[in-house]
Amino acid sequence: MILNEELKAVQRGEQGEAMQKVLNTLIMYGEAFGAERMVKITGTMGHAVIGTGSLTWKPVFDLMEKLIDGGALPRQSFTTDPRGIEDHVPISFASKAMFKLIFSNQKRMEKQWKRMGIKDDNAYTCTSYMDEVGNIPQRGDILGWAESSAVSYANSVLGARCNRNSGILELMSNILGYVPEFGLLTDEGRKADWIIEVKCKELPEPQLLGSAIGFKCIEDVPYIRGLDSYLGTELTQRVKDYLKDMGAASASNGSVGLYHVENITPEARDLGEKLIKENARTFVIDDAEIARVKASYPVAWTSEGEPQMAFAGCPHFSLAQLCDWTDRLDEGLKRNSHEKVTIPVIFCAAPDVRSRFEKDCPEKAARLKEIGVTVSGLCPLSYTSNPLTDKTRIITCSNKLRYYSKARFYSEKELVEIVTGGDING
């Protein structure tokens, strides 16, 4: 690895032992991928993947302590992933007590993040790139982020450059201010290995299409054709939200860190088919493939019966999605002649997005409360890390949550129907 003078000084230990070790860790990481140099992070804010003070992650917090004590602090402010639980979310006394145990490092972690310069108390979200949160990288920015869905969005929709960095490595990158140059940071690494042709009768739900893409491409880069015929060619908020959810599913059901969508995403608009590798393989996703993928999900509930709780907003909803889902539930309740949702429903959104929703759309926010929906900034994955809540028969339209928990997946349409008292088999 060729180091510039600044990094050579770090390697000599001129900024302390902790910084020296951080650099050596990143060098070893980069060299495994053939990186020949470190490049400066140009994004104005970092994003970390640690938002819950999980008991299991004690070694991480011990390591963070070593970094802080050694004076190795991030060079820029940052956002991080959501907290695991919030007080106003419906939960039994026993589950609450269990959460206290499971997230017993929460206070320690939040204190450490403050010492390291986290943006503010509301900076806990997986969708830090929402306007209300304000951590929005520019096209071409070099990032050292983690959080699979955020990396996918930053690379694909915003055109920034970021590898799928692990937790702790993202923090170390932010501390050093440099990342090793390889993979998705390079022009070659951003070329597509797959051409995905979407040939469904109507626009497939994003979390199902994303899952199908993730299963097929695993960690490769797909160039997706056909979506513009349903979505148009402008990156409107609706299109951004669709891509956010699709990308999160392909990043969690596979490991896709970057996708190009023909005529829509910035690099695909500029470079078109030049982004496709010569030997790229082609795969068609039609209605039959979507149905096959959906039918392949294991049923993991520990007991059979009616659903007891529903989650939507993983990754966190945008303001537009909160409004849209309010309307969808309202219409469902009218259609099915119910006044309230039939089971507790949790919509997840960034704390700043929730505040804007309450401020700018007070009628919809009040309506959600009235019909029994809670809007929370929590991470539903973390919510299900509690063995008591994990036994709850949860339904979700999030393929990420489905993958990491025992929650049962239903399409968005099915979920709306179930929670508003309809019959999805009818």
Binding site: T25, I50, W57, P59, E147, N165, S166, I168, L169, Y404
Partner: protein
């Protein structure tokens, strides 16, 4: 009968362990999210999407795999599992190891007393040959010897 494969060293070390094998991506977070805590002291693998590994024990095993998938907590989760003594002793990849797996191995090498040895590029034949329970020996130069009773 023993057979030898040669891979690329990511994190060096000499290890002897029993093989645990998956032919699909290893989702680190889904597999080890509670490993080492009072919820899962034994380090049982909890990814219900992976029938080859579900409910098997991870500690000290030679994890043979094509790649890791999923959340970018992956490397951090490996680091935690290793630090709490419930991680694999080594990870042996048929393909090039991915960023999250490398991060985990590199973190354990630099910051933990329980480094996870990591060798990649062992080839598809390695993953076709190795069976669960096989005796694995890894050498510092990336040589992996597989010995088992079910190889004829």
């Amino acid at each position: 009968m023993a057979r030898t494969f040669k891979g690329r060293v990511v994190v060096p070390g000499n290890v002897q362990a029993q093989a645990l094998v998956t032919h699909t991506g290893f989702n680190t977070l889904a597999s080890l999210k509670t490993a080492g805590s009072f919820l899962n002291k034994k380090g049982e693998i909890q990814d219900h999407n992976n029938p080859e590994l579900y409910k098997k024990l991870m500690p000290g095993k030679a994890l043979c795999l094509p790649e890791t998938i999923g959340s970018t907590t992956g490397g951090m989760v490996l680091y935690c599992a290793a630090s709490m003594g419930v991680g694999p002793s080594c990870m042996l990849f048929s393909k090039r190891a991915d960023t999250l797996a490398v991060a985990g191995a590199v973190l354990t090498y630099n910051w933990s007393d329980h480094p996870i040895v990591c060798v990649d590029d062992l080839g598809e034949e390695f993953l076709e040959y190795v069976k669960e329970g096989d005796r694995i020996q890894v050498s510092e130069d990336g040589t992996v010897t597989v010995e088992g009773d079910n190889h004829g």
